[in-house]
Symmetry: D2
Subunit: 395 residues, 4 copies
């Protein structure tokens, strides 16, 4: 009699595939249930995971959470101008949701433990285990715990009759959901190496982009996009449409040095066409409707929200309080932003809002508000303490 | 016997030109000294100011402070990633320097007052007067105080034999120095209006930019650029060279809603090719050499520095303390950034530094530092309090 | 035919009393309506205002808003640990509420303008006028606009048969509501002057306080006090009871340099016994129930909330967003704090909460959570980047 | 042939004493060198450590770093108003200095490893190991790694002829240096337990304090205290004198819930008479000499500095940059603060400074600066955007 059922977060790749027999042979579990969570990977990846899971596990689930991903993680991230160290987050936003689906199935299947295929160097082990530990579940991480070479893994897979992709080892590591595609590892690790064109799948090169720009408009309500070119769309459809459209214009690449949670710096390349366009548009609209005080302070709020989201700490109570702040400001983030997509860049052309704080009437200084001479009084008090200090120094 | 000498900040335009006779006739000054401060306007503008000042004022000075502008204001702004509400500042950085030159000449000429041609709606009156009041000088602002129409001004100028530009009233208002060119007013005031191509002088349109990208490298030392493509250059030369080069690739335009100091929102268009390139490169290099803690906290520092710089409050003692913080961090901001300029955008291709905090050796987890299993311990403590709360909620 | 009705914020003092005839004679209003708003001044002050208003104005209102003051301003201030430059705010919290009552009566009486008796040096003119201007009302400020001496005011009052207090000019200026009493002016202006005992009315001296301490407990729910020594009380009753009790133990004095809104530094003395006790207790309870991340970040939130509240800018939308943040955190601020009041100080003795994040079970490190050896792994990653830098320096 | 020399941080208590033989028997070191670092513990504690180290180790060092502790850690902490979660830090400030002395001796003695006696629950293991790992030294932590009971430890000590204190196990755990004394553990762990008088050694109870207050003055230069009652003193002497004086008046106790680095909440009691008095005085003086902008922003700086100091991360480069900020502001923190110590509390009576930003001349509004009417203009712009929003809502 073994240790019962373990639920394995499953991608269909070599690492998570060999975890299935390993969890039985090395860890003593009786039953391995694989779960693939669809957050917008390619259909091919999801199909592979489903087929392989059905083939090698005792039970397999493929769960589509794309709409929930948009509603609960991507929309909040738009409201928060969600970016970590300057670039839109993607992978980190999907991890808690995946982990929660695993937990749900663990409860339903009466599992005693959950397992993942992460290594001990990255962020995902921490994001997953935060949810798993918070749920009180035992965690197994074979890839982190056993020191396996790729050769050993392939041979072991063949012994266990697990299909191994015939392609040779990929020179870089990729993660993908409907918001973002990350490429890292191999030669890309060198911060000075210029990334080759072949690493990009969602975006064409600037040079290959069409010579005619796309001019689009995005409509926002309560801080989230609700229509593209005035055509109402679900969040998921709008994001997918923008990925295609902006990607075709070469928009949405980033190359950066990123500080991982454990403290290591890593070079990362990203593609996120929709995210780039939506964040540019959202931020521009905020500058039309939010007060200067809101704009300045919300930068601090957004940065902290993004840090927690990057860390996967979505149950840290600070995350909820930050969300309350953000949601309150977004009630007035309504309107339209016009944008031009062209040869790898996005530019705002104009914006309008029923909640605008720009007022041409106000700017005309009518008598009940302010007149030019009031500025004299304002100026007399401007920088008063600094001027006192200047006077002291002069004397 | 009148009120003595007044020093007038002089651009050679209609407003400041008619201030010369007005300061005598309306304000009773005996002598008007005009001062044009060269912070990198076009040579034509500086020449016009010089000729006109010599023609109509009792005495005129044209003072070239471009190198000091770079050293004392633009370089610090690069170190601080200086941007206000998301875009590189320009006009605001030049104002205190101009005001200080006026004050120097006021002292040298024994003037009792200083004058400027600003209106009562904008930022510049406040930036100038902060320095003037801090110097204990009386301030006169004829354009703000007298309600003059353009027609009246032209007729008055003709009476006083002041040359009036034959061109009809410009449809927008422009300010220029070697770091930035701003265009505002007229139809551009409407936030939804798409700006016409003709407002831009420093940058070609994306469509008109060459089909061949420029790949360049910029070398930084102590946080400031010291060489372009490994060729050492003075700061001013490097900025001018980048304005030309990046401008020719359509790089460096911005269209934004800006919150002015007095609280009004205004739509602004900017050109700043060198600033765009240098800030992208500088920020990228910081991500290679600064610690995560420095990067996260410096965002707050940079934002406050930028706010004070935007307000022109360079003698606010907080500005000095922020500068001390920034300078300390910049000691390690040394290295090279490779960039691609193409069709209106700039992308980082790679970066390197003798002070890099990226370490491939470190990433390989040798025994004296960390191994993969240490992450297990780290993970056990990760988000501990939030997990305790999750446990409480579950029970 | 004059300018119609004006509503005057009325205290019954000499300044606001002479405003009644001045508003007719100098400003041309037909009708002056006085309004005294009761935010917890002494009964004597309110009675004086009521009697005098009824005597000299065309119509008078005395409006009791004490409960609303507690619910809408003091309770939020407790949740926000509301203090400005280190001391609990009081006057500033009452001003917007008073102004709003004035606006309501202005609407009801069809008034064209509102008036107040503030000078041009202080904060209250700005707090009042923010609300008045925001309501679109014309504002008249006779005391700021006319340069009146006290002698002239007394003679004018006598001419107009307005009762003048026989007491000689008070050597300091006092403001009072149920949360705080401020004393400023006269000799107290000198920052080095030691304040005499006579300025204090709510608190006994430390020396005169009883030799037996008071040990009390305060119960909080959702961040606000709901019971004293387990006896449920309305907010107002609890505050009044604590003012008496803590005041009798000499608790709640402050002497500080304060930066006024216009930029001047002023020396202020305060009494606020209930505020001192409640803020100490609230902050202590927060440390038991909020996460470290919440505690650290809420300091920034509280400081900004307090700054806006001090400035009276309660309709700045940032104020609402900060309030949303704070309210979210306060859902778990429930429990009891035991305190000792003695000879001018308050000390926390112990605290408990159903929402505590302290866990003795957790501290015992059971196997499903963490063990001592996990700390080794944590330690391996602790300060990683700084250590890399230390290594670089050493080499 | 064993593993060479190990350097042991040595307190003379049971834990570190048994580490001496354990490091040889269990860990295989040839030679154990003990080091006691004097940061202001009681003379008795230092003597015990010295005697015992000389008795049982192969070599022993006792090193007095009290003056360096004051100059390099306590003075910076005063400048930074150094407090963690509301209370002056102490233990954390001493740890890096102790660790550095250990590292120095490790280099001098050619040691291959260093050892400490910390458990796996607390902060000190992390603070020590940050320095040790940064120095590239191997770390041994027997108490954390071996699961020893107190009974086993006593018997083992007796076997090894190590003197064991005859006193029974102390009911709480104490740490002490010249800045602070902490008491924790046992019954004190319960947040609701009222601490008994016996835990305090540096401060008398409020009730036992003299009936006559002490009125003192402290002189500051560049943000640090240089004289007491106008008598110049070394930092160490001044701190020791204040510990005695304020402790005799019952000043300087704190009872709090503290969030430890690993995330656990712990109840702590502290005594720090000098720290309480100096931080109150320093903060008060800052309010006289720093600008409002400095004061508001320095709160954020101080909080971050304190967080890093609490964590012992004094080589994190952010710590250096924060220190640069702070030092710049402290150039003007000069002057005198008068204070009253009485029955457990300290109150500021008055303050003065050659760098004061309070100006009675300024407050009198002479013509070249501001007059009362200028406030009208200021008020017209006050809260402009919020008022626009109020107008929108009203319409």
């Amino acid at each position: 009699m073994g240790k019962g059922t373990v639920i394995l977060a499953f991608s269909g790749g070599l690492d998570t595939s060999i975890c299935v027999p390993l969890l039985k042979e090395r860890y003593g579990y009786d039953r391995v249930v694989t779960v693939a969570v669809d957050v917008g990977q390619t259909a091919e990846d999801i199909n592979t995971a489903t087929e392989k899971g059905n083939l090698i596990a005792d039970k397999h689930f493929t769960i589509d959470v794309k709409d929930r991903f948009v509603a609960e993680h991507l929309f909040p991230s738009i409201k928060a101008n969600g970016s970590y160290e300057g670039y839109p987050m993607g992978t980190s936003l999907a991890r808690p949701l995946i982990a929660e689906e695993i937990v749900k199935i663990a409860r339903a299947e009466g599992a005693t433990a959950v397992a993942h295929g992460c290594t001990g160097k990255g962020n995902d082990q921490l994001r997953f285990e935060f949810i798993f530990h918070g749920a009180g579940l035992e965690v197994v991480a074979p890839i982190r715990e056993l020191n396996l070479t790729r050769e050993w893994e392939i041979q072991y897979a063949q012994e266990k009759q697990i299909p191994v992709p015939v392609v040779k080892e990929k020179p870089w590591s990729v993660d993908e959901n409907c918001w973002s595609r990350s490429i890292e590892g191999g030669k890309l690790e060198d911060p000075a190496f210029h990334p080759p064109e072949e690493i990009f799948h969602w975006t064409v090169s600037q040079e290959a982009a069409p010579v005619t720009p796309a001019v689009i408009s995005i409509q926002f309500k309560d801080g989230v996009p609700v229509a593209l070119n005035n055509e109402p769309m679900s969040g998921l459809d709008l994001i997918l449409a923008l990925n295609t459209l902006a990607g075709a214009h070469g928009v949405g690449r980033n190359d950066m040095m990123e500080d991982r949670i454990l403290g290591l710096k890593a070079r990362e390349n990203y593609e996120h066409p929709a995210a780039t366009v939506l964040l540019v548009a959202h931020r521009d609209l905020e500058h039309l409707v939010l007060s200067r005080q809101e704009l300045a302070f919300k930068e601090t709020i957004d940065a902290k929200w993004s840090e927690l989201a990057y860390m996967g700490l979505i149950y840290e109570p600070l995350y909820w309080a930050l969300t309350s702040f953000i949601d309150k400001t977004q009630e007035r983030v309504n309107g339209t932003v016009d944008l031009k997509l062209y040869k790898g860049s996005v530019h705002v052309l104009g914006r309008s809002s029923p909640d605008t704080l720009y007022s041409d009437e106000y700017a005309s200084f009518d008598s009940t508000t302010v007149d030019q001479c009031d500025a004299v009084g304002f100026s007399k008090y401007y920088g008063l303490q600094a001027r006192l200090l200047m006077n002291q120094k002069r004397d």
